[in-house]
Symmetry: D2
């Protein structure tokens, strides 16, 4: 059961609700976000929620039989819209394009890409500064220094920054220079990191583990929400299967199922999700029809010269065509309503 | 290397080509279909194909480095259009909707569904008469008797029949009553069956094995083509992964990759591919954007009463909405050209 | 529920049992094998099986809640021992080694291998004569002619023959020359073939589909048993996973779980199961400890010259070491009893 | 290429080697562990390593074409033996049993289990104090306070402690109370954590990611080694597949392949690896024959009352039988030599 308390709830009112929960054999955990105060109540007994729902001090109450609670669609029936800053929101009917290189390389590159995005009406730039690499001998990113110029150049262009955070210790240093914290696929169940991001008031985009189930992704989101941060974006980025024709198997089924099970927005990463440049456009357009709230796409001026993942990056002209077709597809999809 | 011979090639011309291939250390296999005569030549040596290509009697010749040959996009650069009968074709720019129940139950059901399809402008009806069932104690289908009324009722409505064939011995009996032979996922590598279907002059729709790779699906198609039948349709129907939220993981990545590797049309089965009714519409629309040439969808007047697979069937009103949205999406997609 | 009838049951006794089942709302299917007559009764009602069990004419009766019935360990608590012919049995405490080349190549090869096996106390030889090959252009085997000399040479050496059957039509022609019919991984759910093998009185070894679940393998065995043939051997041969370091992932967990769920013997194929020569010995020995009733191993005088699968074949000296270590391991394992 | 420097190498000798590497177009990274000083040199050019190998100051030099270097079997041909403390080593011919509950619950439990282990000749106890749980609402462990009594009670019994570390920040606090740091499957690619453990001088046991490849596990080990810690143990603990009969699919193929590719010891966790109590013994014994250097097994006095994972824990009498059979199997296996 999830209970949202009124802002002006009094102490005696809180005590009354607490007593009623206790009487029914329920324990609860208080979750305070920048938006509201929730009680997540867990118990095995069947109870009539009206006995609590009618008490003063409560904005809303719902029985949530899912084992994840705050992120469940059973708690919140309408899709959430997450403000990213700069007047841009994701979810709730908006479709958001995020694009940029796999790795930030230098300030000239950032200037160029940010300018390209701005002139194409794209207002979120992706780019890794700490790169999780399987091998310790691979390029590991430009680091916090790179994030600084990445952010300042983007800000000049009115473009927001999304970049991966790899450990709790990096949060504080990255905080001033980032608009959306990205949790990478290898950290999708790094519970220490998720806990720490629950204490931050900036949006968090959680990538599905490459062998993570839908349920595990929702649990990871629940970690962040129950830690106090409800600005969460889910991201499908491809899973591991037996198929060798693509680097990952982008699982678009995840989009409609997540939209049905949760109120959180869902974006798709077709670049990592397939690992093949000429699958990016068809799978991006397909993602729109599957119900995605956005895509995050790798682009590079000269893909074959990228520090990492060039093989899956679009060049600028391909990106422009994609942006245009995405918008036409979104426009048609919006006439269908929610599927 | 694939060589297409001229219809009016002379014996001396054939002998000259054969000699040249032998000289180059190539062996070849002659494949005669209802459309043309091909020589599939295999050898390890590097040779200048012009030495053969300039010989008289040859319509076309291409080096094909893929290990599948006749189905490869390296042999035939333009997408194939497969005539289904009744003036309908699949592939080559057309989008084909096929729909119907999982299992044929009785003639009243067939009449009703066929009428519904006709009135909605859908001209291919699916329906199993031999059902491959994991358990020997499950309903195994109405059999050849059922196929007879299935076909005759459809014919009255101008609707074509697609149904699964499970063994070579069934082909002859089914032949008069079927328009498209379907090879099920469990038989995707039943090479005896594929061989036998190569000797038939009706279209064959091959479903991808639920753990079959893209390459294996193309090899299975090569069995049919090299057996003499080039009317082949590929079908993505979901693969097995670790995910338990859906019955299968519909792999839409297969669509653009198959379209790039082969000239054959590709259809998608979102019903078996997901096993969840309310995923069928979003994944069908996504399939269009991924580049599919058609969909094959399960519908039932009262899904909850179906003999099999009701949980993934659409009711009529859902189907009508789907058909309408599919057509709008196809219409937009057609303005994008091939991706 | 499974009921085994007495050999000398009378018609009135049969009628009484049938009536009692009908009264309880159960339907049943009679299964007659070379060993006994069974009634497999299926119904949804809870009933006291003693009301039937006490009727005359019944040898044994058990409630079987598994959805597979005759192959279930709930029906038969003691492990089955399958006579292979020649005084050799598999299961029931025996450990059986089967070995031979992937493909039969010629009679000289058969003579040599059969002699090698005999001199090493191995009395079952494997060898494909019909090869299921992904590509239609690969070597497809020496065919029925090869099977004839394969069998006659083996017979001279007192060695039994196990070989793959690919379609119902081959059964009759193969019958005189084969001791164990093998159903390959690609045909693990070819229900027409399984049905047909239910009507044969020779042992059938069913390989698990490379993405087949444990339950599906048991269902496939149920097809053969319920068709009338209870001489069934199950075979684990590797599944498909994301791992690329081996061709397949041999799943030894299947051994103890199958032994717990079923009374049928279970053998392991470490050659196809791993696809890597130097994994064959450790995984074979591991299979013994996991509880396997036998192994089926590829050997070749000169693995690098084999027509197929040389990379996973053992040479003779490796095979001799394996046989010796297998026997020592079996000897230790037998002191542990069933785990 | 990996170069091990002599302990008493002089500065001019270092300079000479460095110059020669530079001349050949190689860059290198110096790795200093508690045992030796290594240079890991990476370059694309073919070079005759004797031009460097003959220089003074070098103990050993090997070309390593694997992309992991220090953990590769190409660098060190003989299996490594890792001292755990207390006179116990793992690898290099020893077989090590580790056992204990999934979660540490209280000091009475620790006393009892430690006593049980000691009396059975088992000298490493497992037990989680920080539990990575999919849901934020599950029990998360007794924490650092619990680790303190866990360690002090074990020390009294002469038993070593292995427990999971979840983030770099925990290392310092855990350090005095732990003998082996365990990296859990969800952190197998938490590169920040692996980096930090490279700076510690205690053994690290890295569990394979539940969808991690063999290569990725070796890369993760390379992170720790190249960070300065060569006391590394690899652990196979089950992967995710389509199979639903067990919680995970324990992949014993990983054992011989890791032993062939690396010099590091490999242990197996059959408890998490299968998730089923009565699969633990057969798979443990199988692990020995596959070549494992140890097992890590869950035990509990009353499995059905465990705080977590009771369903896969052995009770004491089952554990005693397992220990006994493991020792007999190890004894037989040791006569076979390395396979």
């Amino acid at each position: 059961m999830v209970i949202q308390l009124k802002q002006d709830i009094t102490e005696p009112q809180r005590a009354a609700i607490s007593q009623e929960l206790e009487r029914a054999g329920y324990s609860f955990r208080e979750v305070i976000t920048s938006i509201a105060c929730y009680w997540v109540a867990i118990g095995n007994n069947d109870m009539d929620i009206r006995s609590i729902g009618n008490l003063p001090g409560i904005t809303d109450i719902h029985r949530v039989t899912d084992s994840y609670k705050l992120v469940s669609g059973m708690w919140k029936l309408t899709p959430s819209s997450i403000p990213l800053g700069n007047g841009i929101s994701i979810g709730g009917g908006n479709f958001t394009i995020m694009a940029g290189p796999c790795s930030i390389e230098n300030d000239a590159q950032v200037s160029e890409v940010a300018g390209f995005l701005k002139s194409n009406g794209v207002f979120v730039m992706r780019g890794g500064v700490f790169k999780p690499r399987s091998s310790p001998y691979s390029f590991r990113g430009v680091g916090i220094e790179g994030l600084r110029y990445f952010h300042s150049i983007c800000k000049l262009n009115g473009v927001l920054v999304v970049s991966e955070v790899m450990e709790p210790d990096q949060i504080e240093a990255m905080y001033p220079y980032i608009d959306i914290f990205q949790v990478g696929t290898r950290n999708a169940q790094n519970f220490s990191l998720l806990d720490a991001l629950g204490r931050v008031d900036k949006p968090v985009m959680i990538k599905r583990g490459f062998s993570g189930t839908i349920e595990e992704l929702l649990y990871s989101a629940e970690y962040v929400f129950s830690g106090g941060n409800e600005k969460i974006i889910l991201c499908e980025r491809g899973i591991r299967t037996f198929e060798k024709a693509y680097r990952n198997t982008l699982d678009l089924n995840a989009v409609p199922i997540l939209k049905q099970k949760s109120h959180l927005p869902v974006v798709v990463d077709p670049s990592h999700g397939t690992g093949i440049r000429n699958l990016v456009e068809p799978m991006s357009l397909a993602a729109v029809m599957a119900g995605a709230d956005g895509v995050i796409v790798e682009i590079h001026r000269e893909p074959e010269k990228a520090y990492s993942d060039g093989i899956q990056s679009l060049c600028y002209s391909e990106a422009e065509q994609l942006f245009d077709r995405l918008r036409q597809t979104v426009s048609l999809k919006s006439t269908f309503g929610l599927s």
